[in-house]
Amino acid sequence: MSEQLPELKDAIALGLTEAEYELVCEKQGSPPNQVELAMYSLLWSEHCAYKHSKKLLVTLPTEGPAVVMGPGENAGAVDVGDGLICAFKVESHNHPSAVEPFQGAATGVGGILRDIFAIGARPIAVLDSLRFGDIEESERSRYLLEHAVAGIGHYGNSIGVPTVGGEVYFEGPYEQNCLVNAMALGLGPREQLMRSAAAGVGNVVLIYGASTGRDGIGGASVLASAELGEADDDKRPTVQVGDPFEEKKLMECSLELLELGLIVSLQDLGAAGLTSSACEMASKGEVGIDIDVRKVPLREADMEPFEIMVSESQERMLCVIEPKDVEAVRAICDKWEVSSAAIGEVTGTRLMRIYSDDELVGEMPVEALVDDCPIYDLAPQKPSEPLYPPPTARLDGSESVGDALLALIGSPNVASRRPLFEQYDPIVQSRTVRRPEQADAAVLALPNGSALAVSIDGNGRRVAADPYRGTLGVVLECASNLACVGAQPLGTTNNLNFGNPEKPHVAWQLTEAVRAIADACTALEAPIVGGNVSLYNEGASGPIYPTPVIGMVGLLPDATRAGRLGFVEEGEAIALVGPFQPSLAASELSKLRGEPLPDELPEVDIEAIRDAQAAVRGAVRDGLIDSAHDIAEGGIATAIAECALAGSIGASVEIEAGEDVWQACFGEAPGGFICCGHATAMAQLAERTKVTLIGKVGGDRLEITLGPEKIELGLDELRQRHRALESVFQ
């Protein structure tokens, strides 16, 4: 077709380096044409090839008794008993959301849902993890928050999958590069589990779903694999536009096709569109695929072959089926009003051959496309200077401890998330046992009376202060959240959101964080079953806080005993449970005071915390305690206030002040829980882990005594402050 071959400068414009371009020429035996170069540039992008993270990712633990499907497929899966599997995965849509937050976030949800039903599971829940700049200072961050939340709700609500949890934090380093990570869970019969490896020479390759248009061209290479700049408006056309109605039909259609056993292999079309899907399927199946781009249903008739191959139009799936089933498959597609077209064939050639009608417009070895991208070593180097400026001070040090608690409760990172999550449907599908703000983890009932629990967590500031120990804390917090509802971890997914890995300090953050995930997941027996890497998250003012986001799925045997976070009954004992060693290093209080990040965090005793989690989990399962809440941002005082607010009942406690009242009150660390229950139950719990009785539930006030200091606040006043985020959504 194109008489004039593209040159090196075209390759560089598409994101390849000179050396990579030369390697492409070598693999091809000649300079690639336009279709070939487009396909190589996408598959050899960071987003598809993981070329700066692959060597780290192989160090993660991926095996465990519950793991049914590990990394490498559309999503991971764990066994949840009675022939059912739970599929889950987290993915990012950071750069699209920074450019166009509503569609960026919406299509992020759409993409992760397709990953779930591609492996044969019905999506049953969505969670999200969001990061924006300082909303008290930045109009842009308020705009991004409002529209990203609306986009997530728009997609999840319309498709009938509940959004059951999530987290959001606001920090200066996310000002230019927000983070939008979405996690989804699915449930399905184990025997329906579907893989993406193409199989069966002569089988038909069929595309179904939305037609293919010019949207999202170059999303993976241009948008996702480079730093964001000042004038990114011209990148807006690289953001895809989502249609949840189309996806709803696509989902129901896919699930019906799978149930009928009509599909040999299945893959969603995400980043890098048809190129990535077809090549991945061919690579995993060790086969070749021929595709005729003129058979692909198009939105615009005059699209070039390379545009069809790289389009990131949403709501499309690619499957391999046996020739005898074509009519049956198309009939199901017709029933759901989903368009479908046979566009190619599985071959034994190990080649990707792209045709435009009868003309061969691209021919590439599958192995070269998928496996031969150079993998780079990182050059990690701990920075000698602080990377991040100190935050703006909100407290001047003259406050009482009570004032500080009110400030914390009303600060954007601690305030109630209700104004966000009430824009999401958390209950559709009739499975939701614990909704947001009822417990530390969402709980979803299973048919046999047991339940899944799921939590998603991250803490960029603590990871920035100490990538290894900060990340340990994130993984441990996830497991603590599960323990609070009575669940044992089964598996973990992660999204590594970092800056430019070619910079030594970012490489160091990434290396340390992955080391921590490996250590914590190994200790917790919660292997990684899948995940995603999002690099180059930085703007002109530097990288984001390093933000590994961890999603963990667990199981509890009896859904009726799922834990709650709120205090329950007048007169019950309140206990501090676990090996809690609070420190103000990188805490929310230190942020409000405008302090710079410390150089490191205190040591973390993973085994001791794991044992405390086991004790809390057991006590919840046995019905021994009535509430359990993990101590996180804002320390013990904030945690007690949250328990009181969630239960709409007051509390009176006395905390040992030690040498530093502020540290005792607001210091943070993994491994602490606030639990309530009857005194005899607490005594039983004390046989299993460290328990300190600190007070009683009751009244309509919160009273905390710390040595000479005393906090006395009405629940109404606390509640008023806790609602601070409402003002953003007025």
Binding site: G153, Q423, V428, R431
Partner: protein, 224 residues
Amino acid sequence: MKTGILRFPGSCDEVDAQLAAQRVGETVLLWHGDRDLQDVDAVIVPGGFSYGDYLRAGAIARFSPVMESVIEFARDGGLVLGICNGFQVLCEAGLLPGALLPNANRRFTFRQVELAVVEGETKFTSACPTDELLSIPAKHGSGRFYADEATLDQLEADGQVVVRYRPEQNFNGSLRDIAGVRNAAGNVFGLMPHPEHAVDALTGSTDGLRIFESMRSAVEGAHV
């Protein structure tokens, strides 16, 4: 009792409605393209986003083949319950008075709300204890009940306003706090909150079950 639950492309809460209706009898899902109602005793038009809610919520679904049969079924006195999007569809189809406009807060909103049962002697509320509030979740973007003043007066006078939000919980801005209305004949009822999501203590309250139990009484009473 056999209840048929409609399924449009874009329906989301049809299986939830089916699970709830199964607590009081048999059920069957009715495909939007089929006109056969399979001899059901009652029909539920479920929540969701039928046909993507393009144009206007419920505006396309009312023209579906299955709705032709439902309109006929309702005219013959069959019991029809519309929940959320189903309420919108029934208003669009002219089976219920009024219209549902975008929420006053301009956002999709989820809240557990408490409903006062204004009319306790209808075919949909006879099992509701009098003077008790029903705790039921609501979740929608277009739930602001609207009708002109004369219609509102007439609905109130004729006992067609069946459930109201507690005034401080009327987040969508419905006129006169109206959460659900019935037709003049009393066999068609629509409401924005989701009784099918309040039938199991494990996942919330059980107050919504009263609606389904009332429908069973209405049908099985009629069979005697």
